[in-house]
Every structure is written in C-alpha cells, then in structure tokens.
C-alpha cells in the first residue's frame, strides 16, 4: 500500500511531509519522494491543499 503524488498538480509546499507519521515522504526541491514505509493512513491525502495525493489500492 502506498500513495502517489500527481507531480503536475503538486505545489511542493511540504504539508504532506510534515504530517506523515511514518516519515515516508520527502520534499526534494520541487517534488515529493515516497519511501516504502508508507502505512496507507491517508493523512497526507486529506492535508494536501490542492488534492495532488491519491491513495493507491493494490
């Protein structure tokens, strides 16, 4: 389970990074990188001010 960030929508503000309880996200210059510790809690999906993050159902 993980999330995906739509890079074309993302405004690289880092809101998602700051709320991630697993430290799975990182704002690298102008994009978000996701590591494999995501636990699919969806906190980032709801915090994103522009709705650029989707939960991925496998």
């Amino acid at each position: 389970m993980t999330v995906t960030v739509n890079r074309y929508k993302c405004g690289y503000c880092g809101a998602c990074v700051s709320v991630c309880p697993m430290a799975a996200l990182e704002l690298v210059e102008t994009w978000i990188e996701i590591n494999n510790s995501c636990n699919d809690c969806n906190t980032c999906v709801n915090i994103c001010p522009i709705g650029a993050i989707e939960s991925v159902k496998e």
Binding site: C13, A15, S18, V19, C20, A23, L27, E29, C48, P49
Partner: protein, 392 residues
Amino acid sequence: MKDKYDVIVVGAGPAGSSVATTASKAGLDVLLIEKRQEIGDPVRCAEGADKKGIKRHIKPDPRWIAAEVKGSRIFAPDGTKLQISEELFGAEVGYVLERKIFDRALAEQAVSSGAEVIVKTSATGLIRKNKQVTGIHARSIGESVDIKAKIVVGADGVESKVGRFAGINTTLAPKDIETCAQFLVSGIEVDEYCQFYLGNNIAPGGYAWVFPKGRGIANVGIGVLGSRSDKGMPVKLLSNFVKHHFPTGKIIEMVLGAVPASGPIEKTIADGFMLAGDSAHQSDPLTGGGILNALDAGVMAGTVAASCIEKDDVSEKALMEYERQWRETIGKKISKALVVKEKLVTLTDEQFNTLAHSIKGKCDSTMGVFDIVRALFRANPKLLWEFRNLIK
C-alpha cells in the same frame, strides 16, 4: 565548500539566515545550505510581518516591502466588522513583505557577516560520533558529500527532515497544522488594512485573509485546520472566496503552504544539534505568523552556539540555554496563542457573531491581540472560560 565548519545551518529561510548571521558575527565559521537553487522561492507565506520586529533584524529596504498597513479588520461570519491597529495579533502585521526578495536579503546579510551559502544542497542524514551529531551527509548539486561541524542547526521548515534525523519528533498531527492556499490577485480595490474573515463555511478552523501589496494587488488566502480539511479543500474554498469577494480580480500567482499551529514542541536540542523556526514549530498557532519568531529564535540559537563552541561543550545539556531562552519568550507567547486557537476552532458561526457583536464599537486603534482577548472575555466570561488565565 570546505569539509569542516563550526556550524552548519540547514535551510536558508528567516530562521536559518538569522542563525548564520548571528553565529558568523560572533566569529564562527558557518555554512548555510539551501536545498532549492533559489533562496526565497517558491514563497509559502502570506507575507505579513510586524514592522518593529523586522527592524530589529534587518534595515528596512523598499525592495522587499510590498506595502505598509495601518491596521486590521476582522469580519465575523455575518459580516460584523471589527477594526483594530496593526498591533493586532501580537503585532503580526505592519509590513507586507516580498518574501522572494526579503529571504535573499537575509541570506545576503549572513554572507556579508562571513557565512558561506551553498544552494541546491540538501541534508540527507546526520553524521554522528556515538550519540553526538558531528556533521551532515549532504547532496550538493547531485553529488554526495560529508561535511563536519561542531553544531548542526536544523532550520528546514515545516517539512523538516533533520529534526527527525536527530531523533526529535517534528511530525504534526492534523489538528496542529493549518493547510493553506493563496492567490496573488490583481486589479482589485484594496486599502491599507489587512483583512481577516472568520467562519466555518469560509475556512473551517482557520481564517481567510486579504493582505494588500500595493497598486491594486493583494495576497488573498485561506488556512484550514488540518483535522477539518479534506483533499484539496483549501484551493476549492479559496476559489469560491475570491469569486465572491473579488469577482473582477485576476489571479496572477498561486501559493500553497502549511503552518505549524501546535504550540511549543517538546524538544529542540540534542548533542551537537538545534532546531529553529517552523521546523521547531515556533510559529504562532493563532495567527500563523512565523517570520519574527524564526528570526528571534535564530539569534538565540546563533548566540548560544557561539558561547557553547567557545566553551568547547556542545552537549545537549550545554545547548539547553537555547531551549530555555526561546521557551521563556517565544514559547510563552505561542502557548497563550494556542489556548485562544484551541477555543476558536470549536466555535460555531453564531458564537463568532455573538463575540463580534459583544465588542463591536469597543475596539480602537490602540488594541493588541490580548486586549481583544481580554475585552472578549469580559463580555463573554461563560463562553470563553478557557481564557481566564490569559488575561491577568
């Protein structure tokens, strides 16, 4: 870039540049790194700041002052207007800044004080000797490098990584963050007042703002409490707000961001390590203002770094002096603001309206934020019982 410094500061926002300036002036060898290739860009801020406070840190320059404001107006959900001085919200407004230029001017100040700045360089980890932080692993223009330092200062913003690397939990719960969107709107009529709009349909658990930037343009934005937001809510609400209030306005820029609204964090130091600014959750939880607290904390961190390095003791115990100083000042302010914020986010629109009516006509241009809180408490002791300890 050398392989060794006295102090490495991660992040060239207001907190980082302030640490770098202070530590360099004290004679330390300082490296300030910024992950972006341009300092100050992209902006993630409403750009309001207290005039007197800013002047303590940098000489005012028209290049980074977009506008000066005379005061603020707050609108209750039913449109009731309260007008107050620029001192409102603990003196959070007065200048509306041009952050792209302001942040770079602060970095210039650090450089002219003797610091070295390197952009497009991010910290990817911390070097440790036993428990002690002794430097950073970094990626500098795509190349991996290790850089040593006696003290590392994390000033890497709301999305802080280095705090976590140092074992400090900087994760914000959704109820402790405001998720924000802002448009720079042009071709509108704005005067010399900052405007704040409250209401659960406007901005759940937050507020909407209009900060004039001169010549018919303004930052128009919205902050929503994280726990009451859902996917993309800030941008959707802001689009509606702008359509309603500025139907002829043209949007020429978009800004997204998030503000810590948690009140004081548990810990900001470790052996050889300090955190400052938004990464240390030093922003005001009520207003979201963070620039001045970041600048002040930066001076404290830089000063303590210099005295600890001089005494050759950078242990957590020695760095405790930084923690003591900021808690005594910034910490006290943001703890009070947190009490007010925690109450306001529970209010219904009807309660907001009642509060506004209760002090309408009693606000004047000499009132600051805690004068307003006091007036509100006197008029509504039952509703605002949680404020009783704030008004002594």
